[in-house]
């Protein structure tokens, strides 16, 4: 019902003055993007006004008022909003957007709806990079830690993700054709290898490192701080800025690599750019959140079903939906069992999976060849 409502809303688009051409879904896509923007704003307000600490929507409003007037806000409320909820919200937005866009880009790059950093082992590679740094950062990699500072973890995760993506691409693509069997099998093998190496590192870790690893591996936004937000912010924002330049190439790539070259896309350069972007954004997201699954699959697919696969709109819409989805899931996981917290992965799967299955059932044949 919701889907059909959206489909019929074309007539209601007031701000969209561009003519609607037959078979062109861009006006629908613009409408979806504006709805998602509003949803994200609502989710942001919710994230700042809901939580176990008893700081409510009313408190949030008075906090906002205080920015523009001379009103006073209690230090406690200010502290909770500014140092706990805000970095958490920002990390949720950054990570949700990064995971969703990476999913969309990988699906386009591999020309397959199954591709996702979590499924094909890119997240495992990023995880191995991050774990290596947590365990060996004080000894073997100490010089690197000194140079990179707060960026150490994201950079290590980026390198891990980059190596995996490059290996996967070499493995699964020959003569411009990507073999999905090779991609999935290769991804499984790489994930297993990364898990084994991660296991060795955990075996080597001391008590303090084990604590760090456990918190990191939970897949949670609970450890959000301003430092972490700042360490991944520039990387993810840079990647998101790059995505509009990928849209045309990804659209052409849907025809196949040869045809993308025929319509004028410099395919090698384009692939390199897309792979580095996916690795950087996945790496940054995994470095601070420990790998949250499912966002990269559900967001792009839901949007393709709603508004078509045109990457010009799909990529920004995925970023918005991923950010909104993760922000809402985070609000739920910190309130549903308050004062304790559920790992966010449970909530993303619990909400995401049935919703996604329902969409697939209701629109069979829409997924692709």
């Amino acid at each position: 019902m919701f889907l059909s409502m959206l489909m019929n809303k074309r007539a209601l688009i007031g701000w969209n003055k561009k003519p609607v051409f037959e078979g062109d879904r861009s006006s629908l896509a613009r409408w979806v993007i504006s709805v998602l923007t509003i949803l994200l704003l609502i989710a942001m307000v919710a994230s700042l006004s809901i939580g176990p600490a008893g700081v409510t929507f009313v408190d949030f409003i008075s906090y906002m008022k205080a920015i523009f007037t001379e009103n006073e806000v209690s230090d406690r409320n200010r502290l909770i909003i500014e140092t706990i909820r805000m970095p958490r919200l920002i990390m949720g937005i950054l990570i949700g957007a990064a995971l969703a866009v990476c999913g969309a880009v990988m699906q386009g790059l591999f020309r397959n709806p199954l591709a996702d950093p979590g499924i094909v082992g890119v997240s495992s590679g990023a995880g191995l990079g991050a774990v290596s740094m947590i365990v060996l950062g004080g000894t073997l990699f100490a010089p690197l830690t000194d140079i990179l500072g707060v960026f150490t973890l994201p950079v290590a995760a980026f390198l891990g993700a980059l190596i995996v993506t490059l290996v996967l691409y070499r493995l699964s693509t020959s003569n411009g054709e990507t073999s999905i069997a090779m991609l999935l099998l290769g991804g499984i093998a790489i994930a297993a290898l990364a898990a084994a190496l991660t296991g060795i590192l955990i075996y080597l870790a001391d008590d303090q490192q084990l604590r760090d690893l456990t918190f990191w591996g939970l897949g949670s936004l609970a450890g959000a701080t301003w430092i972490k937000s700042i360490s991944i912010g520039p990387i993810i924002i840079l990647c998101l800025i790059c995505t509009p330049f990928l849209a045309k190439g990804l659209n052409a790539l849907a025809l196949g690599e040869a045809a993308a070259h025929h319509v004028g896309i410099p395919i090698q350069k384009f692939k390199t750019m897309a792979i580095v972007m996916v690795a950087a954004a996945t790496g940054a997201a995994v470095a601070v959140s420990g790998g949250i699954g499912f966002v990269g699959i559900i967001a792009p697919h839901t949007l393709r079903l709603l508004m078509g696969p045109d990457n010009k709109y799909l990529l920004p819409a995925s970023a918005l939906l991923g950010a909104t989805f993760l922000t809402i899931c985070d609000v739920i996981c910190r309130t549903i069992a308050a004062p304790s917290e559920l790992p966010i992965g449970i909530i993303t799967a619990l909400i995401g999976a049935p919703f996604f299955l329902w969409i697939l059932m209701s629109r069979r044949g829409f997924v692709g060849e």
């Binding site: 410099p266 393709r304 078509g308 997924v367």
Partner: protein, 263 residues
């Protein structure tokens, strides 16, 4: 003009094309025929900048190797043999992918008009909203041709004639649409563009092509007008199948029937 001399291509170290030389001219349909595995598609892929080659290959006087993807896309369009789409684009959206890198900038109205015109030329008016993934094989092939027609635009551009490279353009079409698509190619050539097509149907080739290259084992066995090269001798030798070529009394167009094969 397309000018090729001493062109060789190796795939995974194995020679596929050996020292081919040929010339194809705008204003004509040049057909490449030959048995499976004779190197027809490989030759096309070399000429469209997909494969590395040794020797010389020029498109409109410029070395194909030296042209970027973007430059080539403004000089020629390529219809691939198989075209599956990874995602459910509408027919309209697939055709618009041909407009990614146009020689002359177009506004939204012009692009939309070009899509309609191209779909009309391939007989798919009214298909714009349909999902590509739900079309039949022949319809998909015609959508792809419409995309290619959108890409090249007029038969001649700022820098001379445009080229169409068609790899088995009629392979999954019924007879009416085979004739329709071949007529689209003929019109394009008449308007000053160049057409190079890999074809399997010798009768269609004889009917539409101005120049035929008969390929065998990575080399050109014979070339010339259909009336000259389609002889019983040539066809039997190239296809390793004893066939008899006959001629239509009216205009001497050669034809081959599978019935003539002797075992």
């Amino acid at each position: 003009m397309i000018e090729v001399s001493d062109l060789s291509v190796k795939l995974s170290g194995k020679p596929i094309i050996n020292n081919i030389s040929l010339k194809a001219y705008p204003g004509r349909i040049s057909a490449i025929v030959g048995p499976n595995g004779s190197g027809k598609t490989t030759l096309m892929r070399a000429l469209t900048g997909e494969l590395t080659y040794t020797g010389k290959a020029q498109l409109c006087g410029r070395d194909i190797k030296s042209l970027s993807s973007g430059e080539q896309s403004k000089m020629r369009g390529v219809l691939p043999q198989i075209a599956t789409m990874a995602f459910p684009f509408t027919v309209s959206e697939v055709v618009s992918l041909g407009q990614a890198n146009l020689e002359t900038a177009q506004n939204a109205e012009q692009k939309n008009q070009a899509i309609s015109d191209a779909l009309l030329r391939v007989g798919l008016q009214g298909f714009r909203r349909r999902l590509y993934t739900e079309l039949s094989g022949g319809e998909k092939q015609r959508v792809q041709l419409a995309r290619v027609l959108c890409q090249v635009g007029n038969a001649t551009g700022k820098n001379g004639p445009k080229w169409l490279f068609l790899d088995e353009p009629v392979s999954s079409l019924d007879i009416r649409h085979q004739l329709q698509i071949m007529n689209v190619s003929r019109e394009f050539a008449k308007a000053g563009g160049g057409v190079i097509a890999v074809l399997h149907d010798l009768n269609l080739t004889a009917m539409f092509a101005d120049l035929v290259f008969m390929m065998n084992a990575g080399a050109i066995g014979d070339f010339g007008a259909p009336g000259e090269v389609f002889t019983s001798n040539n066809v039997t030798k190239i296809f390793d199948c004893s066939l008899k070529v006959n001629k239509i009394p009216d205009d001497n167009t050669p034809f081959v029937l599978p019935h003539s094969a002797s075992h």
